[in-house]
């Protein structure tokens, strides 16, 4: 056996468990759910009764389900607004704690708190109690002002954003970690050189900071979209689970097959959002170079 082959074999040995796990717990379920989404699935004791439906399940999600399209649109609009807000705040916080400030450890401790408080019921409880909005926003009726000036299509997600502004910021835990690490990697001397050439902090941010961490922002965007989309209080996934458990009764069909179709529609929607964001962020880079 050649040296090269021996190395490959050893490497495969290390990742062998991953390959097995991927086949069992990822690839097989993916194809199985894709397969089920083409059927009407009925439970018969422990067995499944399959009736071939073709794309009827998918058609039903858009045509005859009274709720799904509505909550999906709501989800898309909210995500499109919330993700940039999360990233911008994460970036602001990362830049702030990267400055020469007193009590760095204390500030970091506070801003990384969301990393550990991500439990669904706790967040749901906070939402119920209305703690996820800031009192001053309601006091000054910011939302009323916005509602008066733009149509309901834009105003509703904006209102949702303000209602949950704390929640949205709380999604920024890991992103702050990632961006902070990126900021610390930028060489200080680059800034000094720019200062000598007469660049202020504002220009330095756009010309040095942002380009250096652009790839990390992409990572953060993907992470934010995914974590928001699979979070326990997300209405779409609650709906999908209810359909799967037969707890809600949409017009045409319930159960595994239909909920599989819903999940795939959801996944595709999510992927499109991710691709859109990533393209948007990287367009700037393309234009520049």
């Amino acid at each position: 056996m050649t040296n090269r082959n021996r190395e490959r074999l050893a490497g495969l040995g290390f990742i062998f468990i991953w390959i097995v796990g991927y086949l069992i717990f990822t690839l097989y379920p993916i194809f199985y759910s894709l397969y089920l989404s083409l059927f009407k699935v009925q439970m018969d004791g422990a067995d499944l009764l399959l009736t071939y439906e073709g794309i009827n399940n998918y058609r039903a999600t858009f045509l005859s389900d009274p709720y799904f399209v509505e909550i999906l649109i709501q989800y898309v609009l909210e995500t499109i607004i919330n993700v940039p807000v999360t990233i911008v705040f994460a970036l602001i916080i990362a830049i702030l704690i990267n400055q020469n400030i007193r009590g760095k450890g204390l500030w970091r401790t506070i801003f990384f708190l969301p990393v550990i408080i991500t439990s669904g019921p706790v967040i749901a409880e906070l939402m119920n109690q209305g703690i996820t909005t800031l009192p001053s926003i309601q006091q000054y009726d910011v939302i009323g002002l916005i509602l008066d000036n733009v149509g309901a299509v834009i105003a509703n997600p904006v209102q949702a954003l303000f209602d949950q502004i704390l929640l949205v910021l709380w999604f920024a835990g890991i992103q702050i970690l990632i961006l902070l690490a990126g900021l610390q990697k930028i060489d200080r001397s680059t800034y000094e050189a720019a200062m000598i050439d007469g660049a202020g902090p504002w220009i330095a941010f756009w010309k040095i900071t942002l380009p250096s961490i652009l790839s990390l922002i992409t990572v953060c965007i993907i992470y934010t979209v995914v974590s928001m989309s699979v979070f326990t209080t997300n209405e779409v996934i609650i709906y999908i689970r209810n359909v799967m458990m037969g707890e809600s009764t949409p017009a045409i069909t319930t159960g595994y097959g239909y909920s599989a179709a819903l999940s795939w529609v959801y996944f595709i929607t999510m992927s499109v959002i991710i691709v859109l964001f990533v393209v948007m962020v990287n367009i700037r880079k393309g234009v520049k170079s």
Binding site: G11, A46, R108, T118, S119, A181, V230
Partner: protein, 330 residues
């Protein structure tokens, strides 16, 4: 003569004005230096802005915590009273006592820790091995495999959830901790891809020379991994374990599905169950429900408290995690 004095007076005035202006300029310069600094980032004004922003953002992050903690101590009259907003009239432990006994807290906490620690430990071990494999060896189709791995992170659990549910039902794994441990052992499960990527980038940062010299001395691949690479990767081990522990502890969506009906429940789930049972006993808008607000919050505090304690002891690792593991490398 008169003309002369007038001229002299004029010039003296001019001189005075000049000096005055100079002085103001100096003063202005000094003020500018203090407020804005030589290059803005060391001025007082700048410092004020920074700290103002930090404090207001910190307030946003701490506000729900403070609200939760203060309100959990309130009695019913405190909740209803308009005079009491932040500080409860007395430290009322009754809410905590109620939740503590209803949840059987010590026992529930133990369950929750086992439920989080077992998958977290499995995930740490497996992702260390897999991450090492990806980082150190030339593999066929490596790029494709890593792409598949990242895809598994993006795919929402809703897609794989129902076939898994069937699979677990067939093998009688429902309601058992094994439903979480098995995927974790094989490098899958909750955020599995992230742990592997953390180890991957960490091992890539380590210099190869140590391992190579050990190999020259005749150590096998496994020996090199366990006795050289793994001890060096201790920071990554700690971080992966902490993150996965926290994530498994807080997980409720899949846990609610796979563990429903069993005795083993995560703490957030158990709390949810208790609250649902309790609220169904009393009609909407009744006084008992009002009281329930405080009890719920007390329950939430009890759920978060163990994590908060762990966090305060280990926060150094969280904070330094990304620098040290070099997640940002790729």
């Amino acid at each position: 003569m008169k003309k002369m004095t007038l001229k002299a007076k004029q010039s003296i005035d001019a001189l005075k004005r000049f000096i005055e202006e100079k002085r103001y300029a100096k003063l202005y310069n000094r003020v500018q230096r203090v407020l804005i600094g030589m290059r803005f980032t060391d001025g007082l004004l700048y410092k004020i802005i920074i700290y103002a922003l930090l404090i207001s953002l910190a307030y946003i992050y701490l506000y729900p915590m403070l609200y939760m903690i203060t309100n959990s101590f309130m009695t019913m009259s405190d909740i209803i009273s308009v005079n009491v907003r932040w500080v409860p009239s007395s430290l009322n432990w009754e809410n905590y006592r109620l939740v503590w006994t209803a949840l059987n807290y010590p026992r529930a906490l133990l369950d929750a820790f086992i439920l989080a620690a077992a998958p977290a430990l499995s995930a740490t071990v497996s992702s260390a091995i897999i991450g090492y494999g990806f980082a150190r060896f030339r593999l066929p189709f490596k790029k494709v495999l890593m792409g598949l791995m990242i895809m598994s992170f993006i795919i929402p659990p809703q897609i794989t959830m129902l076939p898994m549910f069937r699979m677990y039902a067939n093998y009688e794994l429902l309601g058992s901790i094994r439903a979480f441990v098995y995927p974790a052992i094989l490098g899958q499960g909750l955020n599995g891809a992230i742990y592997i990527l953390i180890f991957y980038s960490f091992f890539r940062m380590l210099p190869k020379s140590l391992e190579e010299s050990a190999e020259l001395d005749g150590a096998g691949r496994i020996k090199v991994f366990t006795s050289i690479a793994l001890p060096l990767a201790m920071p990554a081990v700690i971080i992966v374990f902490l993150f996965s522990f926290v994530w498994y502890y807080n997980e409720t969506y899949l846990a609610g599905l796979f563990l429903s009906g069993s005795d083993m429940l995560t703490l957030p789930l158990r709390l949810e169950q208790y609250i649902n049972n309790f609220t169904s006993l009393y009609p909407e808008g009744s006084r008992a429900r009002e009281l329930m607000q405080a009890v719920k919050l007390a329950g939430n505090v009890l759920t978060l408290l163990p994590l908060l304690i762990i966090y305060f002891f280990t926060q150094r690792h969280f904070v330094e995690s990304i620098d040290r593991t070099g997640i940002t490398g790729e």
